[in-house]
């Protein structure tokens, strides 16, 4: 019987397998950032261990960094300590680091692909759940905890249980105004936040093949929001064209390409589970609740918990409406927004900024609304400025910031205040995710831009 893409990559990385033990998996690349690495380096020091492969490791500063005045000392002393700790650890263990002010500083998952270090057929890990982003290149990429970060630093391997495989087939053509973000939000609403648990999801079908690399990254990024271990997409010409010419594209291009072209699911391979979705029917999607599975088409209305039969889900919906300050039955398009956040590893790449700028060009954001535009990396920021996108955002009344995670998780000063409502292109609408008491609606960059103009949740078609 044939093999799935995930099985092929997995098997190419098994260092040792033994009955009754997890496979020992070789890791091709580890990405590091300031929040989940300090305790791992500490562990190495305590045990007198070295980093086995500094040349397969790269660090950037992103989660906790300021997005204004980046060259001044960081005001919050605890944040500063965390950044300084990362810089010192990188120096001590000989690891490449991209610090504030450097062209390749930015969100880890934006930086890997832009350097061409993320390539098909790799195993990639990072102490961050959205490592699944890199699966867009046909790599097995997953988030790990700090103990595992230490394990990979010391051994370049990870004992891992082989996940099951799921296929999500999305055939058809997206309507204008419907994006990769809407696909993934619709998938999570369909299968739930636990629907992907224990699986590597392979996204397949004509709608996926038609997407750019940016769009594919958006989809794979949010695999974790469906509970999956990882998400991936078979590499094709779109993938190869994206990598070609990037700084770390393979020197022996032909050898790499031959391998990459073998990376697909065999026609007779069997997935443990298959799910189908029709791209023709999709609409712009937004979330109304406090987990990414609580989403609906923008044309819908806030659901009535009384209509939900499952008692656990009903309770969750009641709590979500209370936290979100929403009334059942309110049309989603009537929900007024205070803050629009455009950025994050889900939608902070150049294509996302272009799409939003296209809508905002020559327009003004609604009075009293604030809009924060935070490029995913410094390189994205520079590219955007070359194209004059910064002017478009500034002229519209938005704030143009430096790169980082920013309001995606509100670790730095970019936070919502209690009761403040955001439309955010990030990936998590958990209670307090963007600041204590903040209320988040997840949206695509197009919906974010249209919402900024109208002041209520909107799609470009409403303008």
């Amino acid at each position: 019987m044939g093999k799935t893409l995930a099985q092929k990559i997995w098997e190419d990385h098994v260092v040792r397998s033994a009955e009754g033990e997890p496979d020992l998996l070789y890791i091709d690349l580890q990405l590091i950032h300031e929040v989940t690495s300090a305790q791992a380096f500490d562990g190495l020091r305590l045990a007198g261990r070295k980093v086995r492969r500094p040349d397969l490791t790269i660090a950037t500063e992103d989660h906790n960094t300021p997005t204004i005045d980046i060259l001044k000392p960081i005001a919050d002393p605890i944040s500063k300590l965390q950044i300084d700790t990362l810089r010192n650890n990188a120096k001590e263990f000989g690891i490449r680091i991209h610090s504030l002010g450097d062209a390749d500083q930015g969100v880890v998952h934006v930086v890997g692909p832009q350097l061409g270090i993320t390539q098909p057929g790799m195993t990639i890990v990072c102490g961050d759940s959205h490592t699944s982003t890199h699966g867009a290149f046909g790599a097995i990429a997953f988030g790990i905890g700090t103990s595992e970060v230490e394990h990979v630093l010391a051994t370049q391997t990870l004992p891992s249980k082989r996940p099951k495989t799921m296929a999500i087939n999305i055939e058809g053509t997206l309507k204008t105004g419907v994006t990769a973000k809407d696909i993934i939000l619709a998938i999570i609403a369909k299968i739930g936040t636990g629907g992907g648990q224990g699986y590597i999801i392979e996204y397949r079908g004509s709608a996926i093949r038609a997407l750019s690399m940016e769009g594919r990254m958006t989809i794979c990024n949010m695999s974790i929001e469906a509970g999956a271990r990882a998400g991936l997409i078979a590499p094709d010409q779109t993938t190869f064209d994206y990598i070609k010419g990037k700084p770390h594209a393979p020197e022996d291009w032909d050898a790499a390409l031959t391998y990459w072209k073998s990376l697909y699911t065999d026609a007779d391979a069997k997935f443990d589970l298959e799910i189908d979705l029709n791209a023709d029917e999709l609409e712009p999607f937004v979330t109304w609740g406090t987990n990414p599975g609580q989403g609906l088409p923008l044309s819908g209305a806030v659901p009535n918990p009384a209509d939900i039969s499952d008692s656990e889900e009903r309770g969750a919906a009641e709590r979500a409406l209370q936290y979100m300050g929403l009334e059942a039955g309110t049309p989603l398009k009537k929900i007024a927004i205070d803050t629009v956040f455009l950025g994050s590893c889900t939608n902070g790449r150049i294509e996302d900024l272009r799409a939003a700028a296209d809508i905002l060009k020559g327009k003004k954001i609604a009075p009293k609304l604030r809009m924060l535009v935070v490029p995913g990396s410094e390189r994205v920021r520079q590219q955007a400025m070359k194209e004059g996108l910064d002017k478009v955002f500034l002229d519209a009344g938005a704030e143009w910031r430096n790169a980082g995670c920013s309001m995606c998780l509100g670790m730095n000063p970019d936070q919502l205040s209690v009761g403040e409502r955001s439309a955010s292109t990030s990936n998590r609408n958990f209670e307090g995710r963007q600041g204590k008491g903040g209320r988040t609606h997840l949206v695509s960059p197009l919906v974010a831009a249209a919402t900024a103009i109208r002041g209520t949740l909107s799609s470009p078609a409403d303008l």
Partner: protein
């Protein structure tokens, strides 16, 4: 890592589903560079609600958290595990855990036990009827016992052995260095390297 063979303690019923890692410990608490002291951030958004279960006197001594399904979804932050441990929890019981959280907990010696939702409900009712109810979580026999009820749970032999011996995973893998060397010798040259830097 401390050995985990058996734990006897009282329970804390957390009747909520989808308790994500941002609820367990919000991002603002993640700035520390140590593994300790995270108990102050545990469930911080709920801690100023006097009715919240951890604020009730009867549950102050609990060491076994009994939570709703999809516990630990969201971010990979191991701080969520440390926060639970720093607070004093030894075991978390739920009908479903998020994968990364579960992996992290079992690496750090916080035992996560998967029980069917009916058993979780029954346990909630029993604890709420008597908060001092003695609960025994026995890794050797893979059972949870209270009053006259015993429920079995599954955990793979390898993880169980590691926890019962209190073994350091890295030390175990370093014994396999020959296999790693042999694997690296065959790795294709076109695989990317981060050093030397190319821009």
């Amino acid at each position: 890592m401390e050995k985990f063979i058996k734990h006897v303690g009282s329970g804390v019923p957390l009747r909520r589903s989808n308790v994500d890692t941002d609820q367990i410990i919000p991002a603002v608490y993640l700035k520390r560079v140590t593994r300790s002291g995270f108990e102050d951030g545990l469930f911080s958004a709920w801690r100023n609600d006097p009715d919240f279960v951890l604020n009730q006197e009867a549950y102050k001594k609990g060491t076994i958290l009994v939570a709703g399904p999809e516990f630990g979804t969201g971010s990979s932050r191991e701080h969520a595990v440390w926060a639970l441990q720093n607070y004093g929890f030894k075991v978390v019981i739920s009908s479903r855990f998020a994968d990364i959280f579960r992996g992290n907990s079992l690496k750090s010696g916080l035992l996560t036990v998967v029980l069917p939702q009916e058993s979780v409900e029954a346990l909630w009712i029993a604890i709420e009827a008597d908060p001092s109810l003695e609960i025994t979580v026995d890794l050797d026999s893979r059972t949870v016992t209270y009053s006259d009820v015993t429920v079995a749970f599954e955990l793979d032999d390898y993880t169980r052995w590691r926890l019962m011996e209190g073994l350091d995973d890295i030390g175990l893998t370093l014994k396999q260095t020959d296999f790693i060397d042999a694997f690296e010798a065959k790795r294709p040259a076109y695989k990317p390297k981060t050093l030397p830097i190319r821009i």
